[in-house]
């Protein structure tokens, strides 16, 4: 089990058309239908202060998918399939790709986390050039400890990763989250998917702990 302590995390879900999402997903997975004909792209960023590869920042772009829920397993909060991931250190990049088969980009990117009143934001840079900005509204928080499922792929196979996140969480769907995309291939890919740059659902956390609980081989990709 790997543990990652963070001082700030934020996430926002954006509506995306199902046909666009299916092009990103392996054929075994389908988008979670959030609105008719629409699924969700979730952009999540963590500022890790302590981990087995030291402090680092991470931004993940994923598609929400239905969880895999056999009777004898706990029901996760949600499930997702990450299709793009950036970190700001090479060690963390190698760790994400090597241990969890996450689709980490090969070089480090710049990540800047900020807090301004009730706003929490992250800016992603590629050698100083802005790629995207994500901003969410931070509301009063609840103490939570939740289970998540993440599907990753390698060598023609899907893997099912179980992870938990605990900490004080703000979550709402007040449609106050904003995604700003600049002229960059990472942003272009998101722009092709996202149908609305206003967040349908947004989350932010202070001082929490993410635990990777394990990885299981799931299915051979059809």
């Amino acid at each position: 089990m790997s543990s990652y302590r963070f001082d700030q995390a934020l996430a926002a879900c954006f509506l995306a058309r199902n046909d666009a999402l299916r092009a990103v997903l392996p054929p075994n997975l389908r988008p979670l239908e959030a609105r008719p004909g629409h699924g969700l792209v979730v952009v999540t960023a963590f500022n890790f202060t302590d981990s087995e590869v030291g402090p680092y920042g991470e931004l993940v772009m994923a598609v929400m998918v239905p969880p895999f829920t056999p009777r004898d397993e706990s029901w996760p909060e949600s499930a997702s399939y990450p299709f793009d991931l950036v970190t700001n250190t090479l060690d963390s990049r190698d760790h994400a790709a090597g241990s969890w088969y996450l689709p980490a980009r090969p070089k480090p990117y710049g990540l800047r986390f900020s807090r301004d009143g009730e706003r929490r934001s992250v800016d992603l840079y590629d050698e100083g050039t802005p790629v995207l900005s994500l901003s969410v509204k931070h509301n009063p928080t609840w103490e939570r400890d939740r289970l998540y499922q993440v599907f990753t792929r390698s060598d023609g196979r899907l893997h099912r990763v179980a992870l938990s996140v605990e900490g004080s969480v703000s979550e709402h769907n007040e449609e106050t989250g904003r995604l700003t995309l600049y002229d960059h291939p990472i942003a272009d890919r998101l722009a092709d998917l996202v149908a609305d740059d206003e967040a349908l659902f947004e989350q932010s956390m202070d001082d929490g702990l993410e635990r990777f609980l394990g990885i299981l081989p799931h299915e051979v990709i059809a």
Binding site: R35, F68, W142, E174, D196
Partner: protein
């Protein structure tokens, strides 16, 4: 900061979409969740009335009367003696059921008479009855749109609209609630044949669609327009023809859809429009083709209810007077009623966990209201939905508003 109760880790939205080896595995998880959620408050959704849904109701037959602010019945017609008598006559004449599809033996003279009445009332060439408002939306959209078409709908539109679009195979495009700039962006981007679908009054917030602006945009971008007036037909407009009359856009709307269960106090749905549209739907709207026709006593009662709605404009005046009375009383109590401008008035609680306890306290204090929370509304936007009727006594509404204010203060929702 509070710790999360175990049942709030999940909600009804979680158990809808899943994968696994056995189709029924999800039932196990749902039951595990329900075991905690029911006693915490979700059990209220199983609560039934032991009386008619009149101005005063009982849940427990041996309990006390409760002020009923939860039932539709906007014009107070469902219990009018003339309506009950007409229903009784139809029952005696036709029996309980139509005993067939409207395409076969189920089409009775009383059905055709009601459809003609509705068409005449709406100022349209023809109308078609459906078993429910839900089936009217599903059947109409599935019949009219298809793969390659684009249906652009308000994101807060009723589930039946989205189910109809999904069944049609058309592309669903959403625009932000009542956001005309966003609708225009969607219309500009859409290619192919376009249909815009909006409601008149939105049932969770009680706000209304700016139909004049919607109609203008549809004309500008060559899109057909369908308006679901489930909550606005028979109550809006000088003659009660709905928000389309209120906004003066009756001619600009291609498909007039509504229900017979709310203002008229019966059940069923209708679509009104050109006779070519109605003839087409009669043949291809599968939700009515393959359903039994509406029960004759209901239809008989509805004919009388419609007659009263037309001949007694004072019903609408009484309704709007009651709406003004209760709005003023609730606002004086400091209750947050959101952006409602209609007879549907949300009482914002915004505590998705605590709303059930407030519901219990309200019932104990003598007010019957239903909690509404995620996923029916956004997280953190839970509320009670008040439905005002012409049948309400204004003094009762003031008293009920006072009770609501007191309970919300005692519960810490308002100061």
């Amino acid at each position: 900061m509070q710790s999360e109760p175990s049942w709030t880790r999940h909600d009804l939205s979680h158990f809808r979409s899943t994968t696994g080896d056995d189709l029924f595995d999800v039932h196990h998880h749902f039951e595990q969740w329900s075991r905690h959620a029911r006693p915490a408050g979700y059990g209220l959704y199983r609560q039934y009335l032991s009386t008619a849904p009149a101005q005063r109701v009982r849940t427990d037959p041996a309990g006390g009367d409760l002020f009923n602010l939860a039932s539709y019945n906007y014009l107070g017609l469902s219990l009018r003696p003339e309506v009950l008598a007409a229903a009784g006559e139809a029952l005696a004449h036709y029996g309980l059921g139509a005993a067939g599809s409207p395409h076969l033996s189920g089409l009775l003279a009383v059905h055709e008479a009601l459809a003609d009445d509705i068409a005449a009332f709406k100022g349209q060439e023809a109308a078609l009855l459906f078993p429910s408002g839900y089936s009217a939306n599903v059947g109409t959209l599935a019949a009219l749109a298809g793969p390659g078409d684009v249906v652009i709908a308000d994101i807060c539109a009723h589930a039946s609209i989205f189910d109809g679009i999904a069944l049609s195979g058309a592309s669903t495009v959403l625009f932000r609630h009542n956001d005309m700039a966003n609708l225009e962006r969607r219309l500009r981007a859409a290619t192919g044949r376009k249909l815009v679908v909006v409601e008149g009054v939105y049932s969770m917030d009680g706000d209304v669609a700016p139909l004049d602006e919607v109609a203008t945009l549809c004309q500008r971008y060559n899109a057909r327009l369908m308006v679901d007036e489930a909550h606005s037909a028979f109550v809006y407009g000088e003659h009660g023809r709905g928000l389309v009359e209120h906004y003066g856009v009756e001619e600009a709307v291609d498909i007039h859809l509504g229900t017979l269960s709310k203002s008229l106090g019966g059940m069923g749905g209708y679509v009104a429009g050109d006779h070519t549209l109605i003839d087409y739907l009669r043949a291809y709207a599968r939700s009515q083709v393959f359903s039994c026709a509406l029960s004759p006593p209901v239809v008989g009662g509805l004919r009388k209810a419609l007659e009263l709605a037309r001949s007694e404009p004072e019903l609408r005046q009484r309704l709007w007077h009651n709406v003004a009375v209760v709005r003023e009383a609730l606002l004086a109590e400091g209750v947050d009623i959101g952006g409602s401008t209609s007879q549907v008035i949300p009482i914002m609680i915004k505590d998705d966990t605590g709303i059930f306890e407030v519901a219990r306290r309200l019932e104990a204090a003598g007010v019957y209201l239903n909690p509404v929370l995620y996923p029916a509304v956004k997280r953190g936007r839970s509320r009670f939905r008040v439905s005002i009727s012409a049948a309400h006594d204004p003094a009762m509404l003031v008293e009920a508003a006072g009770i609501i204010g007191r309970v919300l203060r005692e519960s810490g929702v308002i100061r």
